[in-house]
Amino acid sequence: MSETDPRLRKMFEAVAQAVIAHADELTELDSAIGDGDHGHNMTRGMQAVLGELDALVAKPWNEALKAAGMQLVMKVGGASGPLYGTLVMTLGKSLDTPPTRDGLTAALHAAIEAVMARGKASAGQKTMLDVLVPVSEAVSAGRSPAEVAEVARKACAATKEMLATKGRASFLGERSVGHIDPGARSSQIMIEAIAEQLGDAK
């Protein structure tokens, strides 16, 4: 199979490997304020993407992302499956191909809107959105990949002191405070992997 863009394979591999490498940490975080499956869920999804990698990278960027998003929906399960699936599918639907910086900004915006609609949530509720929203803003503002990664790192750390009002952690009330949100951390890990790829590509 021919590859439409060699960067695509590298990107998918980098993201999947980063998530899988941090699976135990994600599960640990989810055990503290959730049900302890986030690492397993994400690993299942990333392995599905890796398993289909040859077929995915034969597609153009937007089709590849749509297909990868559908893989996440069908394999991850839990709350993060529909959310990350929706994120990636919408990215695919909205992205021009080959991607441009402006196109990416708009697509990211659309994708995060879709995640908010799917999960009926917004930033400030101690979820992945607390990383995704500032990241999207940083991208809109024209920040460099390294700067965006730094924004994600800070945003993730900031979820620690937040009170959860969405997701399983919300069932804990006050007891949710003092722990980093697992979905915020998985988002940050993915952003960081992407930023590194983009940085290298520069």
Partner: protein, 329 residues
């Protein structure tokens, strides 16, 4: 971790295979174990489909059969099933009268069933269960969890579906049963997800978690171990307070074990809970005691009260034949 398993990767498949093998007279497994369905479907009947993370056995697979569910979709342990599972189940059991999803209120379950409903071609409605009073029901949060009361919804709506009621009527009935049902749980120990290999939380020999759900998540409060009477008083108190004016007349009292608590203790809790509920003026007309909505190997139990009316009582009594609940046939 001490479990009767072959390997952490095959727990779910091995267990589902055993389940379908043991109940092959009434159940068949869907392709790739995406769902479990009734062997004999009834044409023209609205199909009831439920599901959720595994680890709550016999819920939901054990509630598939005449008078209850048509299919159940088992997710990974404590993880919502994925939309392809629900789609495959709908495909297999929809005989044309539409499908009612019965979904426990967790964002994962809600969103996965929602995506399946969006993708399904036939008519689909949904009942969302949220009986857990341990979670404050606020406009600003996810709302209450669906826990053991889900079984009551499935039984009563299942009986009505068997009578031939249509999709809208069944949804309305499900919502009504849910509105008249409240639960609360207490855990004495944590549970161990096979893939994690260790308990989800540490807890002292003299402590308990009040207000737990069914996923090994911590409860609302960590408190000192109390007597069965005191535990029952707190839980029944919270349930009745939340039911408010609804809490009058006849009720079903359901004492549900979380997996590692034996019948001896469950019946003891039943005694304590029934006394409290009756002292508060309810008349316990129906009861159910056993481990039906579990949390793997967690020790502890939940109490569920459903305020009955004549229709609900008759539907509760209607014949049912599933792996876990069976009477009248």
């Amino acid at each position: 971790m001490k479990k009767l398993i072959n390997s952490v990767d095959t727990v779910l498949a091995d267990s589902l295979n055993g389940f379908c093998r043991a109940h092959g007279d009434i159940l068949v497994a869907g392709e790739e174990l995406k769902f479990v369905r009734r062997k004999d479907l009834k044409a023209g009947k609205v199909a009831l489909v439920s599901g959720g993370g595994s680890g709550h056995e016999p819920l939901h697979g054990g509630l598939v059969g005449h008078g209850m569910l048509d299919a159940a979709c088992p997710g990974q342990v404590f993880t919502s099933p994925t939309p392809d599972q629900m789609l495959a189940a709908v495909e297999a059991v929809d005989t044309g009268a539409g499908v009612l999803f019965i979904v426990k209120n967790y964002e994962g379950d809600v969103m996965n069933f929602e995506m399946a409903a969006e993708m399904a071609s036939g008519e689909v409605a949904r009942v969302l269960t949220n009986d857990d009073v341990a979670v404050e029901d606020s406009l600003y949060t996810t709302g209450r969890r669906g826990v053991a009361g889900t079984l009551v919804v499935e039984k009563i709506v299942g009986a009505a579906a068997e009578e031939g009621r249509d999709l809208a009527a069944l949804k309305a009935l499900g919502d009504k049963v849910n509105a008249r049902t409240r639960s609360m749980g207490v855990a004495l120990t944590s549970c161990t997800v096979p893939a994690a290999g260790k308990p989800m939380f540490e807890i002292g020999e003299d402590e308990m978690e009040m207000g737990v759900g069914i996923h090994g998540e911590p409860g609302r409060r960590r408190v000192k171990l109390a007597s069965a009477d005191d535990i029952a008083a707190e839980m029944i108190g919270a349930i009745l307070k939340d039911l408010g004016e609804t809490a009058r007349g006849e009720a079903l009292l359901f004492v549900n074990g979380f997996g590692a608590t034996p019948a001896m203790e469950l019946y003891l809790m039943y005694d304590a809970a029934a006394k409290k509920a009756e002292a508060a003026g309810l008349s316990i007309a129906r009861s159910l005691v056993g481990s039906y909505v579990t949390s793997l190997d967690m020790a502890g139990c939940s109490l569920t009260v459903t305020v009955l009316d004549d229709e609900m009582k008759a539907l509760w009594d209607a014949p049912v034949h599933t792996a876990a609940l069976r009477w009248g046939m």
